[in-house]
């Protein structure tokens, strides 16, 4: 019920926004209801906050997610990750940039070229082995590449781009 209601509200919100901003191709994003765990800033078309696109955990759960299995150099054994493909996320926010700068809670920051965001490529994982990730377990979000799928994803560069404790992405021109 709540979700239906919220969807309806989202729809209405979207309607109000399209009325407010008559021009502009961007599709409106629902405003976050919970604590935002991801903020996409920079050159984004679709926003739901002050020039940024914010996502809370529930919002991410409503998006089309993918799940894959892979091993990583930081964990022991095969791991299952579920998340939004970076490609999909960028489309959703209407990102028009060349480079993404990803920031972590632990002050780590790395640049990821937009060209990395392909179908079957890296995801913004929000479930690790079916569980939401706490900060202690590299949560809330973790950009994970399907390392086992090809050797191109087994380089130090890709490892450095696999940023965990992610909370912000800045789309740069």
């Amino acid at each position: 019920m709540v979700s239906l209601f919220s969807n309806l509200r989202n729809f209405l919100g979207f309607f109000a926004m399209s009325c407010a901003i008559a021009t502009g191709p961007a599709a409106a994003l629902d405003a976050v209801t919970g604590t935002p765990i991801l903020t996409v800033t920079g050159d984004v078309q679709n926003t739901n906050a002050d020039g940024v696109a914010e996502f809370d955990f529930d919002m991410l759960g409503t998006l089309d997610a993918v799940t894959f299995e892979t091993s990583t150099i930081w964990t022991d054994g095969l791991q299952t990750f579920t998340g939004i493909e970076l490609d999909d996320l960028l489309t959703l926010v209407g990102a028009e940039g060349e480079t993404l700068k990803a920031f972590a809670v632990n002050d780590y920051a790395i640049e990821i070229p937009v060209s990395d965001a392909v179908d079957g490529g890296p995801i913004v994982a929000f479930l690790h082995n079916g569980e939401p990730m706490s900060l202690r377990n590299k949560g809330p979000l973790w950009i994970v590449y399907p390392y086992d799928s090809k050797s191109d994803y087994q380089s130090e560069l890709i490892y450095s781009r696999s940023i965990w404790q992610l909370n912000r992405i800045e789309v740069q021109r």
């Binding site: 964990t75 590299k138 087994q154």
Partner: protein, 844 residues
Amino acid sequence: MTFVAVLALALFAAFLLNGDIRRKIDALATAQSDSVQWSLAQADVELLALNAEVLAATLDPPASLAQLRSRFDIFYSRAQTLIISPQYAVLREDPEVAAALEHIDVFLTEAVPIIDGSDDALGGALSDLAARTDQVRGHVRTVTLEGVSILAETADTQRLATAQTLSWVSALTLGVVLILVLMLLFLLRHFRRERVIAKEQSLVQSRLAAVVSTSLDAVLVVDRQGRIMDFNGAAERVFGYSRDEAIGGDLAKLIVPDHFRDAHRAGMTRYLTTGEKRVVGTGLVQLEAKRKSGEVFPVELSISTAEADDGEIFVSFIRDISARVAAQEELVKARDDAVAGDRAKAEFIAVMSHEMRTPLNGMLGTLDLMDAYTRSAKEQEYLEIIRASGRLLLHHVDNVLELSRAEARQIETAKEVFDLPQLVRELVEGQRGVAQHRGNTLHVSVSHGCGDRVLGDPMRLRQILMNLVGNATKFTRDGRISVYVTRIEAGDEVEIKVVDTGIGIAPADQERVFEDFVTLDATYSREIGGTGLGLAIVKRFVEALNGRIVLDSALGQGSIFRVTLPLPNVTNTEAEYFEHSSADFSKAAGGSGLRILIVEDNRNNRVVLSDMLELDGHSVEAAFDGKQGVERVQNAGPYDLVFMDISMPGMDGSEATRTIRAFEAPDAHLPIVAVTAHADPAEADRFRAAGMDDVLVKPISRTTLRQTLSRLCLENSTVSDGKERNRTSVTSSVLDFSQIQELSHTLGRKKLTALAQEFIQETESAIDQICRHLYLGNTDTDLVSLIHHTAGSAALVGAAALRIELQALEARLKTALPLEVELPKRLLSLWEQTKLCLLEYLKR
């Protein structure tokens, strides 16, 4: 081969290298860790941040607690990564690091309840947390520092391994390059060699082409369908087709003669289907070919096959041999002409000698008859001169005849036992008169070692000696002529030396004297006279007798002719067996009075012969030709003997004899003697085959006549009355009447009968045995002694013919001469006759 092996090796090495290098590169391409040093340092940083947050919270607790929790979680996450992540497994193996991590883990475990507790509880525990954080910093530091140094080492090792791999790669690359260079060199060499070979091949090819084009023989290359593929210049000349005309043309149509075309096609088809070769590869074959003009000519052909790009080809070399064949034919014709000429010459000589001997026969025979009448001394002398001249002429004629016969290798040699010293002495004595006439002395010396009786051909030996001594006499005047006879080392050979002190023979002529018609000194020969055939005949005779003749001479000093002949000595017993063939003719049988028929067309010969026989007391009748002779025998018979001339008009002697034999009664046998001028043994055999018993060769003398009668065992036969005549004359040769008569007188009739019956019984079985042995070809010594014994018995009772036959047989067996096939049959029939005669005699 080497090239392929090297290439394979290189490929294999490249494959191995490729795999190895790829693996190494793959290993480098995929990183097993992120920036580990950074992560380690970050742990330190994040702990410091946590520490700072704890201190900040102590100052302003409520506001900073969330911040503190977040910081703790960040550190927790980092520390957990250090504890769990496989990329730090290397670090965790270090005991110091392991211990430090243990402390960190304990810190985390203990801190979690504090951090997760309520704000109040956390606020209360801040100082404790600060202390713990401080405490754990040392451990985190240890992990960071140790980790950095360990990872540096690991990186070093990795770098080293990489460097090694790279140097390995470079070495292998060098190796590959080396192999490639080697292969390149090899290929280069190969290429150069190929180029040299190709050059040589093209040279050979051009040389071959030059050879083919300049060949004197036509060279044709033909494919399996018989189409001409190549046609050289010689072929153009030989066949008349230009090269353009010939190439592509059908071989069978162009050069195979029409009458050979089918055979050629059949041969080609046979070869193509079965592969059977008849002409191909068999070397030179002589065939015929056709020119463009249609002329067929002989060729010599050799075909071989070769493999060409588009299948088998035939290469034929054809030589026009028409000139050679023509030359050959000419040569053959020339040879045939020469042979024909030679044959004509031989025939001429034979005819001439025959024609000359017949009148000579008349002449000498008449002289013989004149001998019997008393003449004045002067007339006797003239007669002697005529006789000597006639004999010399006969001698020359005989010489020519002998030579022509010797040319045809027809020298017949006899094997008889004779008295060698006596023969030599008699011969020399005969020459003494002539020798003395020329003022020469003549000496004979026969060494004792020679032995009296030898086996050989006395007639030929006489001719040899006569010629040699006669020659010596001719060429010696007022000198000495010696004849020495010695046996060489007590063996079978006898050496006869005729030595003279005459004019001698120059060394240059010593070989020539044995050639035909050689007279050395024209003037001398005119004085002496001679055909120049004497020594040639001597040499041929000596060789026919398996002997040798050597001349040793010095001009003006004399000559020595040395003749070596095999004349084996024979013992008396051996000699006995040859006795019959050399019967003693010394005493002429006279007045036996046979009734003899002469069949002869030549009047002179007829008169001479009949007079000679009548002088010996025979009664003679004559017939003028074969037909008349046959009529006489049939109607005016019986005769004891017939002399039959061979060449007569109408029915000749041989035919007449056959006719007589045809109607002759089985138990009767009329002796018929051929009279001929042909002194040829082959002829004599023919006469015998016609049924004649003996051959008398013209010229006829009384001596030869008597010898003939003696051979036929007719000389002692008595002719009593007409009724008994036939039987007596027939049996006379079988049974020696006088011998058995004498035996009868000596022993008495009774004893003779007993002896004769015993003889018949014994000989019956002996003859049977002998014949059986002969049929079986069994000729051992037992047989010989049996024959010897039987012959002795036959001699005792006077069975002359049987004795002679048996002795001859014995001699033949001893000398291993071949036996006639008819011999046993003849022996049996002779025995039957002997037995009949003997029984008939006993009945009387």
